[in-house]
């Protein structure tokens, strides 16, 4: 098919197809609702194109297979939903500590514990603060449409390769399960040269490469972590992304990401129709966080409202960015309950005193 044609896709399928088109032909996973279609799609497609689909015996095994595949310098990914990501935490830390690129998808559901299978955004802290043990970060992308899911898969792989670190797409059950038209970008994959570190066999012609996260001496480990954090600083200055929607004259700025931002946008459009000056900042990357965009808005806006499908997690980053200059309120639902546009509108009206 011609790649500039629109097709109708479910979020989970689009994530999988985009990964294939981005050159990822190796998938290791374990089924869990609401992301099972990612694995199901890979199981159908990868054998037909000479790739590897492997359903591991557990999430722990799957992420370690990703570590192995990434060590060989190929694009590899895994996908899961909230409880499964917790299981992968150890492997994600090893991948970060070994400076390996890969893609991890989290189609979030309600928690904690087994929680539930309905959509949620309550893994924000986990994704942005501690996707695994130790001093580490993963690049975290937050799509809000199926098209963005496709586009961000390409970016997530590219940046993971460029900075040699894990990328995560933090989606939610709503995005994973819903359907929208998409166009796949006509992109050719630019392979990054991994020959300086990838385990591809030295055939006695060069010194062997070592992929490892164990350091015998504390000062060696500290040096290694500090070098990695210098890279993190560079990433923070270069890669933070956000969309601003009607922020310029906004008295109230709502901050939301993912599916929730679609609900917020709908509420803002209604509010604008009533003459209320309200806008939205929508982080596209959650780590690095677009703090400067929010800090800039804090110069002009009177107040902030963060809306999430959680008890209030990203609101921490909004407060850090606003830095006490303006009040920051929170509204949300958790456990798989989705906020409605009417509820968000009511919060907006409450905070702006009704109109104008």
């Amino acid at each position: 098919m011609s790649s500039n044609q629109r097709v109708l896709m479910k979020g989970n399928e689009a994530l999988a197809e985009a990964a294939i088109q981005a050159g990822c032909h190796h998938f290791f996973g374990y089924p869990i609702t609401p992301q099972t279609e990612v694995a199901a799609y890979m199981a159908k497609r990868l054998p037909k194109i000479g790739g590897t689909y492997l359903q591991a015996e557990s999430e722990v095994a799957a992420i370690n297979m990703v570590l192995g595949a990434a060590s060989a310098g190929i694009r590899a990914m895994t996908s899961s939903s909230s409880p499964g990501i917790s299981l992968k935490a150890e492997g994600i830390s090893y991948i970060a500590g070994s400076d390996l690129p890969c893609l991890i998808i989290n189609v979030q559901r309600g928690g904690p514990g087994l929680g539930g299978i309905q959509p949620s955004q309550s893994d924000y802290w986990q994704a942005t603060r501690a996707p695994g043990h130790g001093d580490l970060h993963a690049l975290v992308f937050a799509p809000s449409s199926i098209q963005e899911m496709v586009d961000m898969v390409f970016d997530a792989f590219d940046l993971a390769d460029q900075y040699r670190m894990p990328s995560m797409i933090l989606a939610d059950g709503m995005l994973g399960q819903m359907m929208e038209p998409v166009v796949f970008p006509e992109k050719s994959v630019n392979p990054v040269d991994k020959s300086s570190w990838a385990l591809t066999g030295h055939q006695g012609k060069r010194a062997h490469h070592i992929v490892n996260s164990l350091y015998l001496q504390p000062d060696e480990l500290e040096k290694n972590v500090k070098e990695r954090f210098e890279r993190y600083e560079l990433i923070k200055s270069k890669e933070a992304r956000a969309e601003e929607y009607l922020v310029e004259d906004a008295q109230l700025v709502v901050v939301a990401y993912g599916a929730t931002s679609r609900i917020v946008r709908s509420a803002i459009n209604t509010a604008r129709g009533k003459g209320i000056k309200v806008g939205m900042i929508r982080p596209l990357t959650l780590w690095p966080y677009p703090s400067s965009v929010i800090a800039k808005a804090a110069e002009t806006a009177q107040a902030f409202l963060t809306v999430e499908m959680s008890m209030g997690q990203m609101v921490d980053d909004v407060r850090l960015a606003v830095n006490g200059k303006k009040p920051v309120a929170f509204f949300g639902h958790t456990g798989g309950v989705i906020p409605t546009p009417a509820e968000v509108l009511a919060e907006i009206e409450k905070m702006t005193g009704g109109d104008r």
Binding site: K10, E13, M179, R262, P341
Partner: protein, 226 residues
Amino acid sequence: MVTNLKRIVVIVGHYGSGKTNLAVNLALDIKKKTKDVVLVDLDIVNPYFRSADFQTLMEKHGIEMITPTYAKSNLDIPALTGQLDAAICTQKHLIIDVGGDDAGAAALGRYSHEIEEAGGCDLLYVVNGYRYLTRTSKEAAEILQEIQKISRLKVTGVVNNSNLADITTADDVVSTHQFALQTAQEYQVPLLFTSVKEDLAKQVKALMPGQKVYPVKIFVKKPWEE
């Protein structure tokens, strides 16, 4: 168009081909002319966007609903009740919304014997030419075959439900006619009708003279489209 259908109408197809939205429309339309109508959610694979979401709407119209025990809950257990067995034995009109692909149709296989004994059914295979894995009639026919095999029932007609969600144009629909026709011909079953959102129905009818067009309301919506 819907009045010619058998007492038991079963809707199968690829994931996301639009089975649920069609099922809800058929249930409401059949109810206009028939006393006892039951909408059956037989989806054991899909966690959200399913017939069970429309329980309140169905109740409002006096349509009975049968759903898997834990549908719409936080439990991921595809447990079916005995209600469908009982309903098949009555004279009630059933619209059975089956899960996608052969994975979803596996649950239907469980009822194939009972359905045949009750006089058979109209098994509608819904296609959407804009779905990524069913863009050609060959691909659509492959999935049809897999569904027939596992459901142990024969498809009796194809429904063309090709759409690109809210951005669909009449031309988008019309340009898939050949695809749907070929899919139907592959199995020597009729292309029953083209279902199209009601605001496009007139245009589509004008562009496809002589073809049956079934105008549908869009019930399956995202939270921000309410």
